[in-house]
């Protein structure tokens, strides 16, 4: 218990003096996970909507795969992305390994099934004739997707929070494709693991607490947006 207290004190001390390392890894965490989540929303939500509405052979298999993907172990994703990005790998020429971009890619792959799967469920929950009514009002395909997503925004906000939560708290993929390099690819989770392996548990706890605070902050904002205008 005192370890948590130690960690809390350490965290506050570091924050109070604006510890550059702490600020740097925190900001990088936000950048990487934020970008990955945003990309997931832009790609995953329209994709999920189409998947929910379209009928094609093999659809149930695709859905099952998406739902399976929700539980992908981060370290597995990290391994696969690493293999692709190695110098000897198919995408080696891009020299992306051990960069934040590689981490964004891995986290994108991790969160995409979550966002798509939850979007499919959210859209399928809408009134089956709603799509027809929106089309009847003269919506183009893009407008239709937008309105359906808007209509399902409550569960979609939850999907966003689930996706963001999954990636900002993962360490397996980040360590593998990022390398946890000081000043370049170290984020809150990988920093925590490093401190643990060094036996510096108070520091590890400090990083963890900052991570929790960060996640809370982001989710508080998203929750506010989700619950806005719902006086009923």
């Amino acid at each position: 218990m005192d370890l948590i207290l130690d960690g809390l004190i350490r965290a506050l001390t570091l924050l109070a003096r604006g510890d550059p390392e702490l600020l740097r890894v925190s900001w990088l965490s936000l950048q990487v996970s934020g970008t990955a989540t945003l990309l997931c929303l832009l790609v995953g939500m329209p994709l999920g909507t189409i998947l929910a509405l379209a009928r094609f052979p093999g659809r149930s298999i695709v859905l099952a795969l998406v739902n399976t993907g929700m539980g992908l172990p981060p370290v597995v994703v990290g391994l696969v992305v690493s293999i692709m990005l190695w110098r000897t790998g198919p995408l080696g020429q891009l020299r992306l390994l051990y960069t934040p971009t590689a981490m964004v890619i891995a986290q994108f792959a991790l969160a995409l099934p979550i966002v798509v799967g939850l979007t499919v469920a959210a859209i399928q929950q809408l009134h089956p004739k709603l799509r027809l009514q929106i089309v009847a009002l003269g919506a183009s395909r893009v407008q239709l997707i937008w309105l359906l997503l808007r209509e399902a925004r409550l569960p979609l906000f939850a999907a966003t929070m689930a996706g963001f939560g999954a990636v900002i708290s993962e360490v397996g993929a980040s360590i593998m494709v990022g390398g946890n390099i000081t000043g370049q690819t170290r984020v809150l989770t990988t920093a925590t693991i490093l401190e643990v392996s060094k036996g510096e548990f108070a520091s590890a706890m400090a990083f963890s607490l900052v991570l929790l605070a960060l996640v809370y902050g982001v989710n508080a904002g998203l929750t506010w947006m989700q619950q806005r205008n719902r006086p009923l």
């Binding site: 009134h127 089309v135 009847a136 009002l137 003269g138 183009s140 209509e151 925004r153 006086p231 009923l232």
Partner: protein, 276 residues
């Protein structure tokens, strides 16, 4: 005075009857349907070799459950691509590819359920205008106008989740009417409402349609509505239009026994030329 008139007076007033006979005399076709065939799987559910809807008229469509009324409505609203056939709107033949969106935007459809979006009444009504890129000022004034016409101006900022059945359906109607469509298709718009609400809504709606000369197709399973409101009535049986004529004509001279049985069971016992 015919049976139909007696019927009609329960729903609409005398001036309405006058307007109807005027509408029937507008001979210009707005919608023409040729060789329409709709399939579900291998089964043909709708077969309409020819149908003409005149500009400004209210065509009611009635038939038993599963006869194909809603299918016809969907087809006319260009929501469902038929297996075969042609639909001509105005002077444009509908093509199921590029340009369909523009065509579709000339038609508006209202369903049995209000199918409102999760937003205020005013925003709901504005939806179609927004989709068409109508600028804000014009949008707002048109929305306000139609909210007033349908008696729901006081609900403008009410959330759509907080409406009664009648209020919601009025919103849905306003949402369609604000678009001033070339063709308005109503698929059993009153069926989910209780009789007094239904009547109140019809009393408000029909004069509006008349005044704007909105070409309307009203699908219903209610005989009073069909014969009381329509300039012409189409009886649909087994996916086909069994008879299409003015309400008086259908009631007086049902084309087949099946129709006779369907429209007014008692009528069989009335002599065709029964007068006032």
């Amino acid at each position: 005075m015919s049976e139909a008139r007696a019927l009609g007076s329960t729903i609409v007033g005398g001036s309405e009857l006058l307007a109807r006979s005027n509408a029937a005399s507008l001979a210009e076709p707005l919608v023409e349907v040729r060789g329409l065939l709709v399939r579900r799987g291998k089964h043909i559910v709708l077969d309409v070799p020819h149908l003409m809807i005149r500009a400004g008229e209210i065509l009611t469509v009635i038939g038993p459950n599963g006869a194909g009324k809603s299918t016809l409505a969907s087809a006319l609203a260009l929501l469902e691509r038929p297996a075969a056939g042609e639909i001509v709107l105005g002077d444009t033949t509908i093509e199921w590819k590029r340009g369909l969106l523009a065509m579709r935007r000339r038609v508006a459809m209202v369903f049995q359920e209000p199918l409102l979006l999760d937003m205020t009444v005013a925003d709901n009504v504005a939806t179609g205008l927004r989709l068409r890129g109508v600028p804000r000022l014009e949008r707002e004034s048109r929305v306000a106008e139609w909210l007033g016409r349908l008696g729901i101006a006081h609900l403008a900022s009410r959330s759509s989740r907080a409406l009664s059945g009648g209020e919601a359906q009025r919103t849905s109607l306003a949402r369609a009417l604000v678009l001033e469509p070339d063709l308005l298709v109503l698929d059993e718009p009153f069926s989910a409402l209780d009789p007094p609400t239904r009547e109140a809504l019809a009393v408000d709606l029909v004069p509006l349609l008349r005044e704007r000369r909105t070409t309307t197709v009203l699908v219903t399973h209610d005989r009073d509505e069909a014969f009381g409101i329509g300039d012409r009535v189409a009886i649909i049986l087994d996916g086909r239009i069994a008879q299409l004529d003015t309400p008086e004509a259908v009631l007086a001279r049902p084309a087949t026994d099946a129709i006779a049985r369907f429209v007014r069971p008692r009528l069989r016992y009335c002599a065709p030329d029964v007068g006032t």
